[in-house]
């Protein structure tokens, strides 16, 4: 549903405009990577390990090589010394991880590990030929459970490393032990963030073309990050950076899973060079499930120290993070984002988080929508509810008690971050009003009187976006943009931010049209080709508008300054006398003789009347280096009904109030919020990437990996508050991941609230019908919540695992 009416903006910015990128997409005329066809195109297919861990004793490729239509069959023995290794851009100090070769060598380390590649004249022939390759595997014990991997008697994922521990990392701020000693109560819970798969509907794929005469390479890839690929790929395939062009054509969804450099991109590039012919590889769905990065997969033991009035003094956590067998681009960094954001939107004086990151015989984990922050939001928002339950307090009151006040921003957290701006109280207040909170409480009471399982959950979240200042990033946190007024007066905008479905071809045109004072129809935004946008750091971490949008604003301001000098010369005035408004340059007070962009562009490029020293042309580019990240926030309120007989959860009400700062295009904001919440509904209720005890992937197709469908989605009540970010001149924060960060804990809290009359205090995700039904039928077996501390004189401490059925006193919920 649309947000409540706001004052109508004067320009394009702030208006819910439909997208300029849509006509090609709704006509079926867009070009995704599999739609590319080049003369002489060859097709690659990969033979992949069926074992989680095995010695590769022998590979016989002769029959495949002799198969009609096959051009080449290559193995690790042919390629691993010449190519790669696949880089990780975020290694930790004392990282203990293997060299990531492009194909398996003498061992395969996970199901799907590529063992050989076939190139053929036809895609089906390439796949047929895979069946003719014979591999002698000797299966080895596989490391699957990340906690068991830490035991002394565990087999090793990579025997040469001597340990399954990839790294240990700690984050600490404040006097943690002192605060825990001072606390009235210590409340602890073990929380799982299950492994998930992004499952973009378009699988990955790439096409490489070698231009032998120039010695240059073009790679079209379904990637979120063509610029990062261009930075990393050249050395791996031995082509100079300035002869490598990466194009991200239309990209059919990423959600972090295409924020990477994959072995297939390196191999396909190499094959095109080696065979002097264009080569295409398109991932199958089962490959996508197995060998495109997974997300989440943390087990955390969390403890909070609280006073009896609900003040959270300190938080301690130990998290075991399952990294899988190899490091992909950002694998080690994801759990550290959980640590940085673990305080949520609360003033917690002291924090300590210890991460033990483990290698297992599974696919690598890496960024997946939210990337470390959903894990943090889930943990802190579950903890806030548990604090309320254990102390008999209202969960809203507990949250409000620990919020920083609006006047306390920028707000320094114990984890070392500086939250740029916020008003958590306002978002909560608005969400409560939209939800009809009092009526919702009455509805729950009525439902419970009738024996129905009805629950309400709240999450007040904050997240970190617009990553970020270069000093905290592994490879530059800036963004690049270029604006050119063409000789015709038309406007060309080029962004390095590489949007791929988020809609910045529209929202950047809105920004540019307003600032230049031109009709939006005159603006075209280009993205995704490193020969067009030579530099960029691409789209991830909800950074494109805050950083890429600002680089465009900076470029426009440079052009306007130059145009004023040119206008002054033409109008025989001084530059400081020139005014600019609504696309016209004029001597102050003499608007009749104003010059428009078309006239100025003509003069700038024909260049016969330029003042001395002024370069021809009207073009400027800019790198925006942000001073800080941004910190969007909001409140999600969910009501659920649970079917006692089936355990099925139905979302009865969903209210979200998100604050992403200023909104360039509220329609696109709404789309991002709704899409983000759907991923949360997935994590909360259905989705889980499952390996069995032998390391076989059981969720290897859409059939087995349950994603939300249209019938699982409620009608939302969406609203927003606007707290501009001081970190960029647009005042925007980012909205791509908010729904995925804010919604999961709200849904989980609602389900557990619904089950609380049965004595359930916690239940791990996903809250599938089976999981919920088991809790209903045997609440005593649900995960325990530890609560230690000084018992209050008026009541005994609640039991660690409860059968508490009596309604709480005093609590408003």
């Amino acid at each position: 549903m649309p947000a409540p009416a706001k004052p109508k903006p004067k320009g394009y910015v702030g208006r819910p405009m439909k997208r300029v990128e849509d006509p090609r997409l709704i006509r079926g005329a867009a070009t995704y990577v599999d739609d590319l066809n080049l003369p002489g195109l060859l097709h690659a297919a990969f033979l992949r390990s069926p074992h989680a861990h095995a010695r590769v004793k022998a590979i016989r490729t002769q029959a495949a090589q002799a198969f009609p239509g096959v051009v080449a069959v290559l193995t690790g023995a042919d390629l691993n010394d010449r190519l790669g290794p696949i880089p990780c851009a975020a290694p930790m100090p004392d990282q203990n991880s293997p060299r990531h070769t492009v194909l398996a060598g003498d061992r395969a380390y996970f199901v799907g590990h590529p063992v050989a590649v076939v190139v053929a004249r036809d895609r089906t022939v390439a796949h047929d030929a895979l069946d003719l390759i014979e591999v002698d595997y000797q299966p080895l014990p596989a490391v699957i459970d990340p906690e068991k991997a830490l035991r002394k008697d565990s087999p090793l994922t990579h025997p040469e490393l001597g340990s399954n521990v990839a790294y240990r990392w700690s984050l600490a701020g404040g006097d943690v032990e002192g605060e825990f000693a001072r606390a009235d109560r210590v409340i602890g819970v073990r929380l799982l963030n299950q492994r998930l798969t992004a499952m973009a509907i378009e699988p990955r794929g790439c096409v490489a073309s070698w231009h032998a005469g120039e010695g240059s390479l073009t790679l079209w890839s379904s990637t979120q990050v063509p610029h990062l690929v261009r930075t990393l790929l050249p050395d791996l395939v031995h082509v100079p950076e300035n002869k490598v062009r990466i194009v991200a054509p239309e990209v059919g969804g990423g959600f972090g899973s295409k924020l990477n450099l994959y072995a297939e991109e390196v191999l396909v590039s190499h094959l095109a060079i080696r065979l002097n012919a264009p080569v295409k590889w398109i991932e199958t769905r089962s490959e996508n499930a197995a060998v495109t990065v997974h997300g989440r997969d943390q087990i955390g033991d969390y403890q909070v120290a609280v006073t009896k009035d609900g003040t959270v003094l300190a938080l301690k956590a130990h998290v075991v993070a399952d990294l899988g067998s190899y490091l992909q681009l950002l694998t080690p960094a994801i759990p550290t984002l959980t640590g940085l954001m673990i305080c949520g939107c609360y003033k917690i004086k002291a924090v300590r988080m210890d991460v033990t990151a483990v290698h297992t015989n599974k696919m690598a984990t890496d960024a997946y929508r939210g990337a470390g922050r959903p894990e943090a939001a889930y943990a802190i928002e579950r903890l806030m509810d548990l604090v309320a339950v254990e102390l008999g307090l209202d969960p809203l009151a507990v949250r409000r008690k620990n919020f920083p006040k609006p006047g306390e921003f920028p707000f320094q957290t114990a984890t070392g971050l500086l939250y740029d701006s916020g008003n958590y109280q306002a978002a909560l207040k608005k969400a409560l009003a939209m939800a009809g909170w009092e009526e919702l409480l009455e509805r729950r009471e009525g439902a419970r009187r009738q024996g129905s399982l009805f629950g309400i959950g709240v999450s007040t979240y904050v997240e970190i976006c617009a990553l970020g200042p270069s000093k905290i990033m592994s490879a530059g946190g800036w963004e690049w943009g270029c604006v050119r007024i063409e000789i015709s007066g038309k406007v060309t905008v080029i962004t390095g931010a590489t949007p791929h479905g988020q809609g910045q071809e529209t929202s950047f045109a809105q920004i540019a049209a307003d600032r230049l004072g031109v009709p939006i129809e005159d603006v075209v935004v280009y993205r995704g080709d490193t020969n067009v946008a030579p530099y960029g750091r691409d789209t991830y971490g909800s950074r494109a508008t805050a950083l890429g949008g600002t680089a465009i604003v900076m470029s426009i301001d440079k052009i306007i300054a130059k145009a004023k000098i040119l206008a002054a010369a033409l109008l025989q005035a001084k530059p400081r006398q020139i005014g600019f408004d609504a696309g016209k340059f004029f001597v102050q007070g003499k608007r009749k003789t104003a010059l428009d962009w078309k006239r100025l562009a003509g003069e700038a490029y024909i260049a016969k009347n330029l003042p001395p020293g002024l370069e021809p042309g009207l073009e400027a580019s800019s790198f925006f280096e942000p001073p800080n990240c941004t910190f969007p926030f909001g409140t999600h309120i969910v009501a659920v009904e649970i079917d006692r007989d089936t355990g099925q959860v139905r979302i009865a009400k969903y209210v979200a109030v998100d604050d992403c700062g200023n909104q360039v295009n509220p329609l696109l904001v709404e789309g991002q919020v709704q899409g983000g919440i759907a991923h949360s509904i997935g994590q909360a209720l259905f989705e889980q990437t499952v390996y069995d005890e032998n390391g076989q992937l059981l969720t290897g197709e859409f059939m087995d990996y349950a994603m939300p469908r249209a019938g699982d989605i409620p009608d939302y009540l969406l609203g927003s508050t606007v707290t501009p970010s001081p970190s960029n001149p647009l005042g925007v924060k980012g909205i791509g991941e908010a729904g995925t960060i804010g919604a999961t804990p709200a849904i989980a809290n609602a389900v557990i609230d619904a089950l609380s009359p049965l004595g359930v205090k916690h239940l791990d995700l996903p809250l599938t019908p089976e999981n919920v039904w088991r809790a209903i039928t045997n609440p005593g077996a649900t995960p325990p919540v530890a609560s230690k501390g000084v018992p209050k004189p008026d009541r005994a401490a609640p039991p660690a695992t409860g059968t508490r059925g009596a309604p709480r006193k005093g609590g408003k919920r």
């Binding site: 997208r19 006509p23 006509r27 079926g28 973009a200 509907i201 969804g253 791929h500 919440i677 249209a710």
Partner: protein, 160 residues
């Protein structure tokens, strides 16, 4: 061994000799060059490849081209009449019913089928009609809005 097929695609008769194992989606994309129909899962779960086969929405990743011999197929490229978008296309544009656009052709074909069955569909009927199509970007709400929009638009056109 190849077998001859005649399939009318978006009104144009296509006659080709194809391998018996060739899928209809491959026929449309690789033989006819109509790349608007997308392949998402190869197992008829996601619906990205939904087309109309003799007027019925089917997932053409699990239909053989040979099975479609003698049939009429409508793909996303056949929805608009010259410059005039189909009401479902208009709805997707107006209501921000797409983000990355990959599931969109299949979603729109499913939408066309919903409107044929329910000219004035409820939101529940739309949800039910979309159960066979996965979208990972939009969270579906705007897609439901888009089909409601198309129903209103088609209703107005029909009334004229």
């Amino acid at each position: 061994m190849k077998i001859p097929v005649k399939i009318r695609v978006n009104g144009t008769l296509r006659e080709h000799e194809v391998e018996p194992r060739l899928l209809l989606v491959q026929f449309l994309r690789d033989v006819c060059g109509l790349t608007g129909t997308h392949l998402g899962c190869e197992t008829s779960i996601c619906g990205a490849c939904t087309v109309l086969l003799d007027g019925k929405a089917v997932k053409c990743c699990t239909v053989l081209a040979a099975q479609a011999d003698g049939s009429e197929v409508t793909t996303v490229e056949g929805l608009a009449r010259n410059d005039d978008l189909h009401p479902v296309q208009e709805g997707f544009w107006e209501c921000h019913g797409l983000q990355c656009g990959y599931c969109t052709p299949g979603m729109m074909m499913a939408g066309v089928q919903i409107l044929e069955r329910h000219p004035k569909p409820s939101r529940e009927e739309i949800r039910h009609g979309l159960e066979g199509n996965l979208c990972r970007c939009t969270g579906y709400s705007h897609i439901i809005d888009a089909i409601e929009y198309a129903a209103r638009k088609a209703g107005r056109k029909g009334a004229r």
